[in-house]
């Protein structure tokens, strides 16, 4: 069963620092652009919602056709955003928590400038492996 999923990490200053298409559907250029557009459009909603709750996992914040945007906000206001079509909330929450841990490890690197792009290929491999496992 193919699933669509687009994962983006957006920093505090609204700059995407990591992007990946992690669904199992075949990748098409036009669709990828559309996914990114939808995710960026959801940022406004996330910004308002983030201040109303102290939880990190905000569930479905926005919809587009049959795709849902789920967001996980870290303490430093870095947003992990996922555009997906599945309804597996627990899997998505676990995915976010694991990626959050990876992100903290990247952040602890003193030579990493917070808010800059994450270029580590190891990080990329791990995120895709987590996506296959949980989504």
């Amino acid at each position: 069963m193919t699933s669509t999923a687009c994962f983006v990490i957006v920093s505090r200053n609204d700059i995407p620092i990591y992007e990946a298409e992690v669904g199992s559907a075949p990748k098409k250029e036009e669709i990828a652009y559309q996914h990114q557009f939808v995710l960026h459009a959801a940022l406004d909603i996330v910004q308002d919602l983030a201040w109303t709750t102290s939880a990190m996992f905000l569930k479905g914040v926005d919809r587009f056709n049959d795709l849902v945007v789920s967001v996980y906000v870290t303490a430093g206001h870095t947003r992990l955003m996922l555009l997906h079509d599945s309804r597996n909330e627990d899997g998505i929450k676990s995915f976010f928590q694991e990626v959050h841990e990876l992100y903290i490890k990247i952040l602890l690197n003193p030579l990493y400038l917070p808010g800059s792009r994450i270029t580590s290929s190891h990080f990329d491999t791990k995120v895709r492996a987590l996506a296959r496992k949980y989504l």
């Binding site: 201040w51 990190m56 870290t74 490890k105 190891h122």
Partner: protein
């Protein structure tokens, strides 16, 4: 036997677990590192104000990381959205982890010896009386001021500013010496002045 009890070696830092590890760091090692930091910056600047700004920037980098790490470890993944919430987080959790039990989460590495132990707790969190947007953390013996003749409190002010800024509460944070009657060592006060948008948002959230 060789190798018994040796920690498992990980190929990549992303595979290492984020566990707490041993929480004490040698004070001498930290003092050495911090003095080198100050001396290095002294060679690059012409005046004290510039030096304090550089120390603050170094602290800012620490603060941003400390916020994420502590929220993950200590607070079970709950964020702070209110002003008093983030201030009490700094005043209790951050201070306890960084200074209370002699744990120095410094940006470059974590030293794992334990040669020195001392306890102190940030004395109090007070509201500055003149302005609505000012708060003070007052401490009798700020650790970094034990070394050197001038005010290295700028480093700690930078840490506080890093935590606040990353959490979405932009503020101007400065460290001041406040002479107190009857004590030869002046108290160090960290003064936090929040930006307009923080107060507006607080008022809106009720």
């Amino acid at each position: 036997m060789i190798g018994v009890g040796k920690a498992k070696q990980y190929a990549n830092v992303l595979d290492k677990p984020l566990s707490r590890g041993r929480q004490e760091v040698s004070l001498s090692a930290f003092a050495f590192l911090f003095s080198e930091l100050v001396q290095y910056n002294q060679t690059q600047v012409d005046n004290i104000a510039e030096l304090e700004r550089r120390l603050e920037d170094a602290g800012y980098a620490v603060g941003a990381r400390v916020l994420e790490l502590l929220c993950h470890r200590e607070k079970g993944n709950r964020r702070e959205t209110r002003l008093l919430g983030i201030l009490s987080f700094i005043h209790s959790t951050v201070w306890k982890v960084l200074f209370g039990k002699v744990v120095y989460l410094i940006t470059f590495c974590i030293w794992k010896d334990n040669l020195y132990q001392k306890r102190y707790v940030a004395d109090s969190l007070e509201k500055g009386t003149e302005h609505e947007d000012e708060y003070m953390i007052s401490e009798k013996e700020l650790l970094v001021n034990h070394m050197g003749a001038f005010n290295c409190g700028a480093f700690v002010a930078g840490i506080v500013r890093g935590v606040l800024d990353s959490a979405g509460f932009p503020a101007v944070v400065t460290a001041h010496f406040v002479p107190i009657e009857g004590q030869q060592r002046p108290r160090t006060t960290i003064l936090i002045k929040f930006a307009e948008e923080v107060l507006r948002r607080e008022a809106r959230l009720g």
